[in-house]
């Protein structure tokens, strides 16, 4: 399943901040974590994560530092700041509102539209 670009862009901030709230991390590991959590359903273009990280850094939500990784390479680690945690809490509230609204809609639709399917996911059957 491909998730559209706008949705990916909108969700990238809370996702990255939440992952960094778990522990400090670096680009590749963040992407791995997204993959793992979404069961492979969220396909990010790898390179696009970095401008997002840099934007968060500019806003002061994350801090970056260079460290030498265990394999001897220089690696840029990111950690969440207290401003970042506040932002994450704010995003959390907003996404819950969106999610709650959509959930109500999905359940309303399930009653009126049989075509929407049981789980409310998947493409519409043809000719419905």
């Amino acid at each position: 399943m491909e998730i559209n670009k706008d949705l990916i862009a909108a969700s990238s901030t809370p996702i990255v901040l939440a992952i960094l709230a778990e522990e400090d991390s670096y680009g590749y590991a963040i992407l791995q974590r997204v993959q793992e959590l979404s069961g492979g359903r969220m396909e990010w273009t790898d390179g696009m994560l970095y401008p997002v990280l840099h934007r968060l850094e500019r806003h002061g939500f994350v801090e970056a530092r260079w460290e030498t990784a265990e394999n001897g390479r220089r690696r840029k680690y990111y950690s969440i700041t207290s401003a970042g945690r506040e932002q994450l809490a704010e995003e959390h509230r907003q996404w819950e509102a969106v999610d709650a609204t959509l959930r109500s809609l999905w359940s309303a639709l399930r009653d009126s539209l049989p075509a929407a399917g049981a789980a409310g996911s998947g493409p519409l059957p043809q000719g419905a």
Binding site: M48, Y50, H54
Partner: protein, 464 residues
């Protein structure tokens, strides 16, 4: 030729990928390092998953995203990077350390120039009372330090440095041994006289050649080396003007704020801030030109592009008006100087557009504009010279007049032959490089004439 070792082959591919990425202006070296770490991690994970190194690399690069998209995303986030910035001494590495050292030396020499201009005061030479001394020697406080900066920067050998130093010593001697007379005997005995003022004006021109030789650092005999000095001089002028404007704002604000608390800073401004700032700014401006050379577009050629058509239009209109109204050139005392200035400006416009022109490019509209400019300036000057020649004996040969006449001839010869070379180029009968060579070959002529004015004029005109 394929490399058998897959690890080496991978390194080669990563090198190529990295160099492609480096060309993107929005993506800085640290970002490239970050992305490379990612790429390597991805390749390692994919090889662990069973792909061979080559396949893993291709997949990893694909997942990274198209370079154009990536560059666009970085540009959106870092839009400031699309503006070429002069970043002095940031980051690490030998290059940054070199830039830092360069800046330290330049600012040290600027401070030295600022101090040098105050040293004579220790020996009782006051700036107001002994204005003539300061006017004569102004260039000697600054240009030796500027020459020293380039001698250090280009690593000149001791012999060249010796010659350059000798030139400055000679200049100092000629500026100070002549018994110059005051301008109008009896009226404030310390105003500089005519030949003294001529020395003050021409000494810097002669000494610029010395700076140029140091700047070119062994490439003075090459057209390209001298052309680089021409480019440098244009940028130096523009930076100096900009710094002077900033200095004007600073002093204006300083005067206003101190006035509000009843402190008069004019004396400090006159005898400290202005002379020290003006001396130090030459070195700071030179350093800026050097530091930003590869970072920012040269300004002088941009300005010549802007003003060449305007000056050409003014001159053509002037000539047309002259013909239709039948007016003669008013012969005043300063008319020769006015026409000298006109030729200097036209020469500047020509010189700095020549310095930025792609020699191989075919003739274009702008080249014709240049020819119109030069030819109309020559005609205007010819009219003025003809009018003056008729009455020169009536006016008499004062030092100012002879100097102005000499300058006019020097500039006229340059522009006339430039016009011939330009027309040959436009007619397809000569390379543009001939014009470049002519202009760069001519540089010593200005210095030679200036040296004649400094050395020969005072005794020839009785030091008046």
């Amino acid at each position: 030729m394929p490399t058998p070792d897959p690890a080496a082959r991978l390194e080669e591919q990563i090198d190529r990928w990295r160099s492609f990425l480096r060309r993107r202006r929005a993506i800085h070296a640290t970002d490239v390092a970050e992305l490379e770490d990612h790429l390597r991690e991805q390749v390692a994970a994919l090889t662990d998953g069973g792909l061979d190194a080559e396949e893993a690399f291709l997949v990893a690069v694909k997942r990274m995203g198209a370079m154009d998209d990536l560059s666009r995303e970085f540009a959106l986030e870092h839009s400031d990077r699309l503006w070429k910035q002069l970043v002095v001494s940031s980051g690490d590495g030998a290059e940054a350390a070199g830039a830092r050292k360069d800046a330290i030396v330049a600012f040290g020499l600027a401070a030295a120039a600022a101090v040098a201009i105050k040293v004579p005061a220790l020996f009782g030479l006051q700036m107001e009372r002994d204005a003539a001394f300061y006017v004569r020697n102004a260039s000697l406080f600054v240009l030796p330090l500027l020459t020293g900066y380039f001698a250090w920067k280009r690593g000149l050998d001791a012999r060249t440095i010796g010659w350059l130093a000798a030139a400055f010593v000679a200049a100092a001697v000629f500026a100070n041994v002549y018994p110059f007379q005051a301008q109008v005997p009896g009226s404030g005995a310390n105003d500089p006289g005519y030949t003294e003022l001529l020395t003050a004006l021409h000494l810097p021109i002669a000494l610029l050649l010395v700076v140029g030789i140091a700047y070119a650092g062994g490439r003075w005999r090459d057209v390209a080396g001298r052309m680089d000095f021409i480019r440098f001089s244009g940028e130096l002028f523009i930076y100096y003007v900009l710094i002077a404007l900033g200095g004007g704002v600073l002093t204006g604000l300083m005067a206003m704020t101190f006035q509000s608390i009843g402190v008069d800073v004019e004396a400090f401004f006159q005898s400290w801030l202005l002379p020290c700032g003006a001396a130090g700014a030459v070195l700071v401006a030179s350093w800026l030109v050097e530091a930003k050379q590869s970072v920012i577009e040269n300004m002088a050629p941009v300005l010549t592009r802007l003003f060449t058509p305007l000056f050409a239009a003014v001159l053509v209109t002037f000539l047309a008006t002259l013909v239709f109204t039948g007016r003669g050139v008013q012969i005043e005392r300063n008319v020769l100087i006015a026409f000298d200035l006109l030729l200097v400006v036209v020469l500047g416009l020509l010189l700095y557009s020549v310095s930025a022109r792609e020699p191989g490019a075919p003739p274009g509209l702008f080249d014709w504009m240049q020819v119109v400019l030069v030819v109309s300036a020559l005609l205007a000057d010819a009219v003025a010279l003809w009018a003056i020649a008729a009455r020169i004996s009536e006016f008499g040969f004062t030092p100012n007049r002879v100097a102005a006449l000499g300058e006019n001839v020097v500039l006229l010869v340059n522009l006339a032959w430039s016009a011939v070379l330009y027309l040959r180029f436009l007619g397809g009968r000569g390379a543009f490089a001939r014009l470049e060579k002519w202009q760069t070959d001519y540089l010593p002529v200005y210095a030679a004439w200036a040296a004649v004015v400094v050395i020969v004029f005072p005794p020839a005109f009785g030091y008046v």
